[in-house]
Symmetry: C2
Subunit: 359 residues, 2 copies
Amino acid sequence: MEPKSETRIEGYAADISSIREAQGRIKSFIRRTDVLTSKTLNALSGKHLFFKCECFLNGYIGSFKIRGACNAVFSLDDDQAAKGVVTQSSGNHGAALAFAAKMRGIPAYVAMPSIAPKCKFENVMRYDAQIIKCDPTLQSRETTASTIVQQTGAILIPSSNDPRIISGQGTMFLELLEQVPQLDTIIAPISGGGMIVGIDSLAAKSINPSIRVLAAGPSGANDAFQFEAAIKIIRLPETKTIADGLRAFLGNHTWPVLRDLVDDIILVEDDEIVEAMKLCYQVLKVAVAPSGAVALAVVLSKSFLNNPIWQNECNRIGIVFSGGNVDLGVLWESLRNLETRRFLPNTFLQVTSYTHLNY
Amino acid sequence: MEPKSETRIEGYAADISSIREAQGRIKSFIRRTDVLTSKTLNALSGKHLFFKCECFLNGYIGSFKIRGACNAVFSLDDDQAAKGVVTQSSGNHGAALAFAAKMRGIPAYVAMPSIAPKCKFENVMRYDAQIIKCDPTLQSRETTASTIVQQTGAILIPSSNDPRIISGQGTMFLELLEQVPQLDTIIAPISGGGMIVGIDSLAAKSINPSIRVLAAGPSGANDAFQFEAAIKIIRLPETKTIADGLRAFLGNHTWPVLRDLVDDIILVEDDEIVEAMKLCYQVLKVAVAPSGAVALAVVLSKSFLNNPIWQNECNRIGIVFSGGNVDLGVLWESLRNLETRRFLPNTFLQVTSYTHLNY
């Protein structure tokens, strides 16, 4: 990749330089994740799909969140780092921050709602972080985190609305574009919290300004979609979706990127997400979380199939599997409740195979 | 790999030459499957584990069975092939044979017990094979297959007790030893049908005579274990295990290999198999079927941990994930019923990561 061919996109919380710096900073902790392809899923979508498997990152962490957490922790100077880091998280970011802090040998404090599932507590405790339980409201979580900052002097590392986190997550798109240079489209999940697209479109558009970046979201947590109309940051009163990793909210660092650099937001229903998870499991044999499978759900959705622009112009599509931490019980219950809506034409399935790209 | 360094093992249904011929014959249909490693699972076992992911083969087929099926179908001459192929199978071999026949453009007939799960019928129908339903007894299955042979002139391709199948399956071990040359041990699942070890030890021992080959089986289907004592082929009156792919029986082509070339057979309980599946899912994010996870269950079992020879001499261990077709409902019910027997010491989990070997 020749740096001179890059477009300088400025005025946001991160840019291609800070993303490249992050890549150098985290490379000893973060392996380059695999890109999978599947003839079966290509046939089903009518497209060339390239699955970026962030679910394969670091065992139990199993999520892209470790990129931003490592970048944030290792960008602190020694004095800043000495007192540790703090965040509030009920999920992957807490475990990722605990991992990064342990790698640096500093304390980590994680404010977690007391009702969080046992496995999420375990994933944070695994790396010896100190857990401070709080009420399951955003206000209680934020207040608890602030109190820890005051008491310990630790540095607050938010889960997404932070330049260090944005630069770290952006490294995923650098990798993907190096692995599959001729992509014309990227589809990635978006949380209210600006999960990936609001963030990583910075990297993609810098390297290839003509690439189309589509955000995939669950219709039960569509604050980002409402942003498009409102052009302001709103917080939905309630979110309800199986994609629990996508229930967060956008912020002042992430929203401008989404507004300016993401081409479209496409919403899908929960049963479409569950069906995409099932395909990941049955065809690819890979565990993908609901919030990770939403981008595959989009490319198989009627909205996508019926849109002539996307059908004509989106052909080589990167699909981001953002994480793989899925509660088997939830998945199974969802599958049982799912009526099979999609009947696969026989021609789709005559030739099926599965390859990892070598790189 | 220099052929001159190989040991010539003769007098069995296949040898290193027929396995290398099979490798050439099937290479356009069978990709080299990935080998995964995990620091978490290394720490848990105290060994260096290398997971050979046959579950990644060819989408819905998702099993090593496609190797033997392709070798058998493509080793037929045109006259033999013209009338098609036939087998009896309730599982992966039927789908694999249907795939191979479709690739060659010849008919396939599969005798299947009428009570087989819907998904198994779908996997065979996907490749346009003709299904002939029969009773769910081995006798009915074999009689039905014979009748099809008589009526159609198609060639019978058994699921394992066949030189062409044995040579095809052996290609998996050729690959694994090329990918990880310093293995001192291989653990693979064994069915009564001689699933892998009875077969592939031919390849392993030819290339590296000092390699230790261990067969992993469920204690609920232990005919192979009983063979060790009886030194004759027996058929258990009943098999009962979650590892439904391991319920078949050994035959005259497979049993001598098992007897002479497999070093030990280690049995595990169903709850150990379920726990191994859970680790595959939670740590590796890979779907592994019960019959595929049995080799990981062995390396984590008390039998293995308490055996001083295995503990001292088995250090770099290839673990065969033979297939990935798992019924999520069965897995979930099993997990719910499983009491957590293993408490993971904290030190095991302080550093966790996951890598694909590049090759």
